[in-house]
Amino acid sequence: MRGAAALALGLLLVAPLVPLAVWSVARGWFFPDLLPARLTWEAWSAALSPRSGVPQALALSAGIAAASALLAVLVGLPAARALGMRRFRGSGAVRLALLAPVIVPGIAIVLGLHGLFLRLGLANTVPGVILVHLIPTLPYAVLAMAGTFAGLDPDLEAQARSLGARPAAVLRHVTLPAILPGIVAGGLFAFLVSWAQYALTLVIGGGKVVTLPLLLFSYATSGRNDLTGAIGILYLAPGALALVVSARLLTGRGAGLATMHATMRAKVRA
């Protein structure tokens, strides 16, 4: 009974991904054929050639996500320390302030920002998109890293200081090694959150900054199902990869990034 339900669940979970994968190697897959008449790698070789714009979009998405994640970690580290290690009045309000941008939809915020970005010369530019991606990536990075800081014993730093270590040495030899897993997790989260953005990129990029999801959307609405399938699989690859890697790397016991993501989102709901 439970096995049958689990089987049904598994089938439903992969169901929408199967047509994507089949389309990516299909040629002439028309109604009512259950399977394509011919299999071909054409869509994949098109996706890998610069003429489709896919390699450029892939590199651009990765660059924007990496830059936004790096900024989120750097800007967010001090706040993560305060939230994780200190009790202070108003910490609930700080959490709420960090949570609001995660919950309030991006399109509601970014339409108002567009005019300002235009005036600052940031509209239609990559730096502008990186900056606007901080709205969702920074809260995720802070809250992920705060969890690791909460597990850091402040006495360790004080002991290092009393043994004569300078603040820089304490940071390098005590604090950073202890919170490195949190930095990696926070950075990875921020990368994937930026990777998933659509509306923010659309509005601030103004059609000039074509990241992978924007290209995926435009192929999906132009009827190139084969190329769309290939791009779709390329687009989901980093998340799936992070899942596999993080299951070992971050926890060592198979809990995985997704579980952490879910529990974190639930915990930090404030």
Binding site: R2, G3, A6, G10, L12, P16, L17, V18, P19, L20, F31, P32, P78, A79, A80, R81, A82, G92, A93, R95, L96, A97, L98, L99, A100, P101, I103, V104, P105, G106, I107, A108, I109, L111, G112, L113, G115, V132, L138, P139, V142, A150, A158, Q159, S162, Y198, A199, L202, V203, F217, T221, G232, G239, A240, L243, T259, A262, T263, R269, A270
Partner: protein, 299 residues
Amino acid sequence: MRSLRWRGRIIPAAPVRTVPTWVLLTPALVVVLGLFGGGLALGALRSLDADPLPGQMAWSLAAWGRVLGDGGTWASFGLSLWIAGASTLLSVLFGVAVALMLRGAFRGRALASWLVQLNLAVPHLVGAVGILYLLSQSGVLARIAFAAGAIEGPADFPALIWDPWAAGIVLQYVWKEVPFLALVTLAALQGIGRDYEAAARSLGAGPARAFAHVTWPQIRPAVTGGAVIVFAFAFGAYEIPALLGASYPKAMPVLAWERFTDPDLARRPEAMALALLIAALCGALVLAGARGLRLGGVR
């Protein structure tokens, strides 16, 4: 830190200068509140500005009047409420069920929970394209129905994409959010353990009664928190209704984007008003959720 006592001597703690908490919080709060609060404030300002030229301001409530007086706005508002409400309800129901299932031990549990996690890592847009190829009238399900002799052509297959009920949109959200709510619920279930439930069962409560009176009250805050997140996302996401939605009524975010890109610049303040309506609904939800869910301090 405390002073140490070592071989009978008291070693004073080194003076550790601590950075004030507000200094630590400043960089993140400046960026988040600047961009988030700034976006909302500028949107509000622009919604009240009848002058399309940048830098010039002509106060006017005309855009709000047009938006609130337009039946199309309320059709879109209703559609987005329906999409978000139906998606959230179904996701909660199935998410909790999946969590209860994954809690037990059975063959294939590891694979099932791995697939649940994999699904969470798939971007929404990929799910939406997959749903499109699966459920459209010439999609995979329609082909299976044709092969089974249930339909005679694509037109016989029910319209689940670009349809007035937004079935494809709701199904996409349910597909993506059931795993999310399942993992949230599972974490809450593991947090409370099974002792209370076992006690209720040994006192004669059936499984349904034990769940309703013992387990559910304990996991409800976590599930409610997850539901708020799902509702706000389904209400405000742009790309999924843009791909799978009908041309009328449009979901609120799609309508806002359409007004924003209207060649007539005088319609831009209407886009800002629509954006604020979306923000207001989701903001109210956050505040309501925060109140109901105990705003915690450190841990």
